[in-house]
Amino acid sequence: MTAYLALENGLVFAGASFGSQKEATGEVVFATGMTGYLETLTDPSYYGQIILQTFPLIGNYGVIPEDFESPAIGARAYIVKEPCQAPSNFRSDGIIDTFLCKHGITGLCGIDTRALTKIIRNHGVMNGRITLTPPTEADFALAKSHSLSDVIAAVSCRAVTKTSEGTYRIALLDFGAKRGITTELKKRDCEIWTLPFDTPAAEIAKLKPHGIMLSNGPGDPSAPENAPIVRTLKALYDMGIPIFGICLGHQLLALAMGHKTMKLKFGHRGANQPVKEASTGRVFITSQNHGYAVIAKNSSFINVNDGTCEGLDYGGSFSVQFHPEARGGPLDTGFLFDRFMERVSIYAKG
C-alpha cells in the first residue's frame, strides 16, 4: 500500500506503508547507526519523533525483546529503505513489520532515504506527516503546526520504585530512562530507586541517596514546563550529592548550573560520534541521540566534528551529552559509570 511523507517545507516522498497503517505526525530526525535499530525504536528519547534510518537494510536480525531499552516504542513513526522480511539471528523472535504493528507505530519504506536525510541535513530537522493518501494542504498544515509539550511527563515513570538491591543507593530521576542506565548501575552494586521526573528535591533527599543519576529523555531541555526540574536539580546540586547526568539529564543539569542550551540543526543521532576528553586529549567513539546542545566554554568533552559541548564536570557532579550506557552503539565510555561510582563511594564513606 502506498504511503506518503509530507514535509512541512512542501516536499513529498511516496513509498510503501508497513507496520501500522495509520497517519502519523512528528519531527523527522535521522539516525545513522548501522546496527541497534531495536534500541533506537525503544529509546524513550525519540518520543513523538519520526525516525529515519540512513542504513537501508533494517530488521536484518529481527526482533529481540531482551535488547529493548524500554517496553514501548518511543517514536511515532519509522522510515526505512527496506524492512527485512526474512531476518536471521539466533535470538530473533519476529520481524520488524509486525513489531511496529503490535505497537501501533506507522512505518514508511521504499523511499529514497538518503535524499530525505540530505534534506534534513541541509534544512535542519522539520516536521513531517505520513499519510496513506496523497497529502493535501491540510496535511501540510498539520505538519507545520505540530508541536509537542510535556514530553518528559509522557515517558517518565509514575511511581517511585526500587529496582535493585546493592551497597550504593542511587536515585535515578527518570526523564525517559533507557534500561541500559539501570543495567550499568546494577553491575556496580547499586540499590536503584527510580523516581518520577517531578519528584521534589526534598523527597529525593529523604532517600539519603549516595548518588543521583539523571537520565536521558526527549524534548527541548529549555521548555517552560521543565523549569521545576531545573530548580530541583539546582537544589540537589547544592546538597553536595554526586550527580551524573546523561543526555537530557546533562542538559537539565547544565541549565540548573546557569548554562544555556541551543537547538542543533539536525542533531547527533548515531553510533559513530567522536568526542574528545579535554583533560587527556583522548578520543572516544560514542552513541548519541540529541537535538539540543549545551552552550559552554569549559567542556570536559567536546564533539570532534562540530566542537559542541559533550560533557561538563562540576567537581563532585558531572554530566555527558552522549550515552556511556551505549545500547545501541559503542561501549567505549562505560568507564564513566566507574568514575561516577568512585565519587559515589567517597560520598557514601562521608
Partner: protein, 1044 residues
Amino acid sequence: MPRDKAIKKVLVIGSGPIVIGQAAEFDYAGTQACRVLREDGIKIVLVNSNPATIMTDKNIADSIYIEPLTLTTIKRIIEKERPDSILSGLGGQTGLTLCMQLAHEGFLEKNGVRLLGSSPEAIDKSEDRQIFKETMMSIGQPVIPSVIANDVQTAVDFANETGYPIIVRPAFTLGGSGGGIAKDEAALRDIAENGLALSPISQILAEKSIAGWKEIEFEVMRDRAGNAIIVCSMENFDPVGVHTGDSIVIAPTVTLADKEYQMLRSASLAIIQALGVEGGCNCQLALHPHSFEYAVIEVNPRVSRSSALASKATGYPIAKVATKIAIGYTLDEIPNAVTGTTFAAFEPSLDYVAVKLPKWPFDKFVYAQKELGTQMKATGEVMAISDTFESAILKAVRGAELGLDGLDLPRLSDKTDAQICELLNTVTDQRLFVLYEAIKRGVSIDDLHIITKVDRWFLSGLYNIKAASVRRFPRLDGTAKQLIYKMVDTCGGEFEAQTPYFYSIENGTENEALPFIQRSNKPRIIVLGSGPIRIGQGIEFDYACVHCVWTLRSIGYEVIVINNNPETVSTDFDTADRLYFEPLCLDDVMSIVDIEKPVGVIASFGGGTAIKLANKLHERGVKIIGTSADSIDICENRERFDSLLEQLGIKRPRGFSVTTEAEALSAAERLGFPVLMRPSYVLGGQNMIIAFSAEDIREYMKIILRQRQENPVLIDKYLEGREIEVDAICDGTDVLIPGIMEHIERTGIHSGDSIAVYPAANINAEMTASIFTITEKICKALDTRGLINIQYVLFDGEVYVIEVNPRASRTVPYISKVTGVPMCELATKVSLGESLRGLGYSSGIAKIPPYVAVKVPVFSFEKLAGLDTHLGPEMKSTGEVLGIGRNLDEALYKGLVAAGYKIELPCSSKGAGVFLTVRDSDKAEIGDIAAKFAQLGFSLYATRGTARLLESRGFSVTAVEKIYKCAENNTATLLESGKINYIISTSERGRDPAFDDVKIRRKACTLGIPCLTSIDTATALVSSLLSGYGEDNTELVDIAGLCN
C-alpha cells in the same frame, strides 16, 4: 600530536610481484602512503621489484629501486641512501617480514633507522602465534584451542586430545599457503608435513576446527595516543573454513544484532590496544551462530587486502591515515578527506552495502583443484555497492566477467537434483551458483543452511533474486529505467561530502552525480578500467589507466573512471574527477555515458575488459577515443586480420578457424603438427594449447566445447622460433617504438610467462629495421591513434606476426620506466589529436638506455594444487618482477632472484644437484645445459631416457626411476631427499595431474625447488649461475635518475 619533524627521509618497501594473496592492494596502499609523506615534505626512497606499480613512478617517490626484495638488497639500499626511517605496515606481508628481519638483526638500530608505525614488539605479538595466543589469554580474549608445532607428531598428539577436524596453518606464509583442514590422522600428517616445509620457520599451528561459525572482520585504526576506531565491519558469506580472501564478503555486518556487534567491536579494540599496533590493523573473529561464544582467529598488524576493501567500501582512506599516524599525527588531527570538514577520528557509517566477490583462475586452470579452504586461491576480486544485498551481488557477478548476467550458471542446468545436492557438500568457486540452482530446484533455505552453514539471511537474498527472476538490472528488460547515482561519503549523509565517488541504485529520486556534471565546465572523458585482477590481466592495466587519467586531467579534461576493482589506484576517489564504482558491462557503462555525456570514452588502457566494450559502445553511438572500434575489430576478427596482413604483404603462421572436432582434426592434418589452438577472442592465452597429436586435439575440443564457446576455435601452424614483442605509439603519421623486447623462451610459451629482455639482444640491425617497417605498416593500416602491442616470431630468418593488440599491453609500465618514454601520456595525447612530433618525439626506435632490463614472470603455483607448472601457450603467471643491470647477466640475475629463484652455487660444505627429465625434442640441447651444471659442480640426476642420453655424452649421471615403477627409490623420494637444487622438466603432454611428469613438478612446487619447464629458461638460469653475480656485487640502480 603534530608530525615528528625528525623524519626527513623514509624508505618504503613495496610488496613485490602480484601473487595469490598479495595483489594490487599494496600498490594502492603504498602509493597513498608516499603521497602523504610527500605532502609533508618527506623524501621517499622506494624499493619494489614490481615495475607495474604506480608507487615506483617518478612523481611518487624520490629515489626508486626496482630491485629484488631480499634482505641483502634492502640493507645495501639503506647503506646507500641512509634513510632515517622505514615504513613497515604498507608493503604487505613481504614488506613487513623484511622490516622485522632488519629490526631483529639490529640492523636498523645500528644504522640509525627508525621503524615507523607499529613497534617490532607489537608486530611480534601479532605475528608470532605463541606470543599472540598468550597476549590474547592475558586480556581474556578467547582463542581457538590450538598448538604450535615444529613437528608432525605434536600436531597429531593435539588432535588426539581435541578431536578432528583440525586446521593447519603454517607460520609466516602468504594467503595461508600450505594450510588445510584435516579430517583424520592420515590427512593431518600429510598437511602438517607440507605446512612445515613451506613455513620459513618450520612452524605450523594446528587448531580445533570451528568450521561453520560466522566469520567477522573488523578494520581497526589506532594512533600512538591510544585512540582507536573501527573503520569497517565485514561479514563473510561463507562461514569459517573458507579463507576470507576466497569468500564473498559484505560490509557492514548484517546478521549481528547490536549486542553481538558491540561485543566483537569491543574485542577488536581491546586486542589492538593490547598489541599496541599503531596504524591500520585487521582483526578476524569467529562467532558461534547460536550463542555469544566467539574466538579471535588472527590479527594482521598492517594494511591488508581487507583494508583496501574497507577503504573502498567506506571511503575512509586507511593507508593514508595509517601513514599519517606513522609520522606522528593522531586521529583527531587528521582531516577526513571525504567530508573535508570532519576528522579521521570517527567511524564511517554506511548507507548502502558493499559486496566483494573473489575472482578465481579456474576458468583457465581446468585441472587445478577448485575446492576452497584455508588456502586462498583467488587472484583478484570485484566489489559492488548498492542499497540491497540482492542488487549488489548481481552487480558483482556481472562485473566479475564470468560471462554471466545473473546467478544462473548454464552448466548446472543439466545436472540432476541429486547431483546439485552433492555439489552443495563441497565449497568451490561455484558455490554461489550451486546455492542458487538448489533454490531454483526448490531446496528449502533451512536445508541449505544446515548443509552449507551459510547464514539464512544470505540464502534469503538469493531466494529473493529467484523470486523476482532478477537477471540483470531493469534497463535490459525493456523498462528503460535510468539508474541513479548515490555518493559514498563515509557518514551516511550526515555531512556534506566533497568526494565524487558514486554507485548506482535502481530506485531513488535524487541523482547525486547530476550537480557535479552540471557544475562541470570542462570537456569530459570516461576512462574504462580493467576490472578484477586475473591471470592475463594484472596490475599493469591499472597503471596504464591511472596514467591516462592523470594526463587527461593535466591537459584540461574532466575525467570519469569506471571500474570495480577495490584493490587499485584507479578506484582511489581522488585519482579521477569522478569515480563510478560500477561493473564494466555495456549497460552499466551506457547508463553513465547517458548522464555524463562525455566527448568520448577511452577503452585502450583497461586491457581486454575495456577494449571488448569499444565496439559495442561505438555501435551505440559513443565516440571511442584513439584507435577506432573498427580497427580493434580487425585485430580480433580472424578473417579481417588475415586479409589485412595479406594486403600488406606481411607473413603470419598459416591457420584456420574451426567449430567442431572433425574440422579441427582435418585442419591440423593440412597444417601439420604441432599446431596452436585457441578460441578466438582470447585473454591471456585462455584455453590455449599446442597440440602435438590428434589425441591432444580431441581432449582440447572436448574441454572447449564444454564451455559453450560461441566463437570459433583458431588453429594455427606452430612455428618454433624467437619471439619478439613491440610496444609502439602511433599518431596516424609517425610511429614511435619505445622498445623492442626479446623473449628468452622460444614461441610456445605465452608472452606473459616468458622472460622478456629489453633491449632485444639477438636481433641485428637489418632485423630491427624490418620489424620497424612491419610495425609501421600495421600501425598505419589500422590508423592507430595511441598504443599498440605486436608480437612477432622470427622463424627461418623471416618475421611473422603472431598477434596485434591495438591497446596498452602488460609491458607498458616496464618499458616506460626503463626507457623514460612516458608511453601512456604520449598515447593519451596522441589519441586526442596531438602529434608525436609536437610532443618532441619522432618516428623510429627510442634511444636505448645504458641498462638491460629483464622481466621475469612470477607464479602462484604453490597455492593451486593440481595445476601443472609446465609453461605453455596458456598463461599461468600472476605477476612479474624486473631486473635492471649493466648487462644481460646482471639483469637476469637480479630478475631471477627477485622472482624468488635461489641462485646458489654448490660449496664445499654442501653439495648440490640438478635433476633433468626432458622430452625427446629437447634432448638435443640438454647436453649443453648439463655440461654447465656439471662444470659448476652440480651432481646430475635424470630419468632413464635423459640419463641414457647424458651418459652417452660422457656425463656422470645418476638415473632415477619413475614414481609408479619403484616405491622406495624414485624421482619423488629423490626430491624429498634434499639433494636437488634445480629441476629441469619438460614434457610434450602435461595438464593432467595423473601424469608422472606433472607429479614431479607439483612435488617440486611443494618443496620449493625451482623447476624449469623450458630449455631456454634453464639455459638462462645456468648462465646466471655462471655469471658470478651475487647479491653483494650488483649495481643498485635508482631509476629516478636513469632517464633524465
